[in-house]
Assembly symmetry: D3
Homo-oligomer: 123 residues x 6
């Protein structure tokens, strides 16, 4: 299976279509360079890659891509605990606000995957 | 009163519950380390702390936490003018886009607290 | 025509009103310093200025202001292709997540200006 | 005394000359817009302004300007403790690495002003 | 052994002393909260934690702390290849400039640990 | 001539060697993907691309890569004035500290290329 297939799972077709409609060339770079060339490199297992991706996206504060890779991390074998620990640790390096926003997003991702209702109140 | 009580005011219970539902351990670090240990330190008054928090959050571009601390700054004694000046000054250091986004958020916070209708149009 | 008029086009009145309602002093700095003093300087053409503004806003991840300058770039003479290339190139310097978010925003801007339906699915 | 004079103190002449040699127009905007227009606004005292400037520069990770405003904060009346507290608190919002780098810079600034030897070892 | 001992290795004493001389309270938070509370949590192995720390520090562009955790990652069991892959992957999320700066720093760290001469030329 | 040759000029060989010694795979992505695939795309002229690169690197605060592209912008036909204007404008979007640091770096680049002594004093 492609790296994209492993990370995107059952959303792969929808994500590919959205990418393609957004910009065909940028979509191609995402598919061919980002996923099938760089993320597919040997030397680092895919679970660690996805947890590193989560860390980078917590640092950036990029919610859409973060949601994709929170779910991707779970799909390629990270446990919910490992994802939570990755986010908690990020608070040390990039501060609590980014970590809190990421953790709320994780709650929404877990809910979508069949978990409990995500918290709706203010932070 | 706890530092959290002073900054979160009448929203304290809702914020605590949201934090708890998001991640119990991260919530504990926010409560015990961020608020009751660091923000509670002597040597800097709480109003200046909250205006510094506002500056940090304008720099990050983190709207949820920024709204909390815009309201927190007002609750612990900063005037609306002091908050506006803090945001205007931030434009010098982190640019106009972050300052404009923060000022629009302040308008929403002031409206929620009983002020005029916030501006709804495009920026 | 003022620089604001050239960049904001038919939205100028609405943007001015929103700025004014947000904070009259910050609005004045945006109008008088940012646009009519700095952006109006000779020595760099307005199209290149707007493409540089797009790059800065892709880097920041500031969607509201980015939408304004994506549209502004098109208004002052950048082609859709030039704007797309500016965003694609930004991926090299600030990463794919910021570039993807910007390209989706461009799709929404182009749709508003009479183009095709923007992609609605997940990225 | 100008705001620049208050913040830059005995370094004012050297800073002005460096700015002027760097770019005369950017220097003018720094002097006339940043300092004598925005930083000079009433409604927020200069000590709080400088502590907010310190916070913004810790967030950015901009060592040269941060050194200027660490010293500026001390010149306009902030105590060493208040500056230390501002940096410690910033760790919550932008993470420990930025706060540690800033605190090491403060040690160098204090040393230059006649204090103890700054720490020289690795962090 | 403490988490600090595992990550800092033979530099532990020098780092502790530098931290202590920089600010005793911030040093205590780094030791007690960052390392012995958060980094010491179960649920994520230390090697993955250090590779995530590397990613966060590449994103920030914080060279001192990055050098510490590049070395830390190697000390707690990451291979040179795994560290290189973590940096290469970060280029996708935060751009090539941050990744290049980090990779040059890794060369210096490897040299210090007994490897080949680091590249000295311009990038 | 390759895009790298146009941007790197007489430094091309030294830069290639440094890249290669830093990491052969990352070097290959920089050469083949960043320069000869993305920067080489039609649809945006190379001068505008380099001024956009300068803007992105001012926003990041990445001095090594910024120096490369300040010089690159001049090599592919941007005038000193156009580069200065690009930096001055960036102050609006990412703040004065990043713009000042970039302008000092430009002074050093211009000096290296045969211009006047760069300013040496504090900012």
């Amino acid at each position: 299976m492609t790296i994209r297939g492993q990370i995107w799972g059952e959303d792969a077709e929808a994500i590919e279509r959205t990418l393609e409609e957004t910009d065909a060339d940028l979509a191609r770079y995402v598919r061919e360079f980002a996923y099938e060339e760089v993320m597919a490199r040997p030397g680092l297992d895919l679970k660690t890659r996805e947890l590193a991706a989560v860390t980078a996206l917590v640092a950036l504060g990029a919610p859409k891509e973060l949601a994709t890779h929170l779910e991707g991390a779970l799909r390629v074998g990270a446990s919910e605990t490992e994802v939570r620990e990755t986010i908690i640790q990020a608070a040390l390096f990039v501060g609590f606000p980014r970590a809190l926003a990421a953790m709320k997003l994780l709650a929404a991702v877990l809910h979508r995957r069949g978990g409990a209702e995500p918290p709706a109140g203010p932070i």
